[in-house]
């Protein structure tokens, strides 16, 4: 009896393993290359604090440039202010130049790893998902980054927006196979 149970346990473990293998990190994120992370480095957890420092700078800019302002988003979508177009436009220009330099001079990470880029295949999700995201962005006046910053400035009710966004992400994951991509 015990052996049978053990066998079942082994089979389950193997199945789960096979699932994980068939579903390697990269494959599962093929439509979602925004979060690919091909670094092979394994470091103690506190090495992650360097990303927190970058986040702190980002958070300060979010608040001080009023990127978390619902009013700013409304102005942008009504073409009443140049501000947000200026912010995003400048960021993209700086980003393009930075990535061009990284590629041209083959700049490595601080750990000597090659910096990887992954071309993304177009799919219909970019159209349908993008449209739905845009609707939500103008309603809440916040994309995912500013949602966090809004909460931190004391607008605690925005936690509801965050929880709802997590629910939306989950529901997408649940229906993903049935949605056109």
């Amino acid at each position: 009896m015990q052996t049978i149970q053990q066998n079942i346990a082994t089979i389950n473990a193997v199945n789960e393993n096979a699932d994980m293998v068939a579903n390697t990190d990269f494959e599962v994120r093929s439509l979602d290359t925004m979060c690919v992370n091909e670094s092979q480095q394994t470091h103690p957890w506190w090495y992650n604090f360097k990303y927190m420092i970058v986040g702190i700078v980002f958070g300060i800019v979010f608040v001080k440039a009023e990127i978390i302002s619902w009013f700013r988003m409304q102005e942008m979508f009504r073409l009443q202010s140049f501000h947000m177009y200026g912010v995003i436009g400048t960021a993209v220009v700086v980003g393009i130049i930075s990535i061009w330099l990284i590629r041209k001079f083959n700049i490595k990470t601080i750990y000597g790893e090659k910096i990887e880029f992954h071309p993304k295949k177009s799919n219909k999700g970019h159209i349908y998902g993008g449209l739905l995201f845009g609707l939500g962005w103008a309603l809440t006046g916040a994309c995912p980054g500013p949602i966090f910053a809004q909460i931190a400035t004391g607008a605690y009710v925005v936690i509801v927006v965050l929880l709802s966004a997590i629910a939306g992400t989950w529901v997408y994951g649940y229906f993903r196979e049935k949605l056109p991509h």
């Binding site: 091909e38 986040g55 009504r78 993304k120 995912p144 980054g145 709802s164």
Partner: protein, 187 residues
């Protein structure tokens, strides 16, 4: 110096700093700038429910939680120590339009008359916060990224699909703000 920092920062300063986050994350550890992936990692960590989309090694992505943690800390610093004492300046046309819906309080970046626990129990508040949040989360994942992942990171990489996504974000925003939001605000 502090007085200058307390003023709202101009777009070219903010844009340049945000643009530099792209190479900073790449050089610090091959990390691709993106925020909405965090929402997915939360699902993967807390409620994977045997859904394939949430079965991956989210622990490899904890850097992204640290990044978001930093955003929280930065926003607290900015709102505590660098807060602008003046009310938020808004375009006169927008102010007039919003006044028509009774939204006159611009003392806060997040308008209190729309986003508060009291308004959460009104139809208008419920749509704006719950339905709005849902669309942000669902749409971002469906599109494979949000404003940071597509409009900043993807466009910086000159990815065609990110341009498509960014254009659709803007179309969605224009439709909502100009065609649908007026009805919701008058509820």
């Amino acid at each position: 110096m502090i007085e200058i920092l307390k003023q709202p920062w101009p777009w070219y300063v903010a844009g340049a700093i945000i643009g530099l986050i792209v190479p900073a994350l790449l050089i610090l550890g091959n990390k691709h700038f993106g925020i909405s992936a965090n929402l997915r990692h939360v699902c993967a960590a807390c409620f994977p429910a045997n859904i394939r989309f949430f079965k991956y090694n989210w622990k490899k992505e904890v850097w992204n939680f640290f990044f978001v943690g930093g955003i929280l800390v930065g926003a607290i610093i900015a709102s505590r120590f660098l807060a602008n004492p003046e009310p938020v300046k808004i375009a006169p046309a927008l102010a007039t339009e919003l006044a028509g819906y009774g939204i006159t309080d611009n003392s806060n970046l997040v308008p209190k008359q729309l986003f508060s626990f009291e308004s959460l129990f009104t139809l208008r508040g419920l749509i704006m916060m719950v339905a709005g949040g849902f669309l942000v989360g669902f749409g971002a994942r469906y599109a494979g990224g949000c404003t940071s992942g597509h409009a900043i990171m993807g466009l910086s990489e000159l990815q065609w699909s990110s341009l498509v996504a960014t254009v659709m974000f803007m179309i969605g925003g224009f439709i909502m703000a100009n065609l649908i939001l007026p009805f919701i605000l008058s509820l």
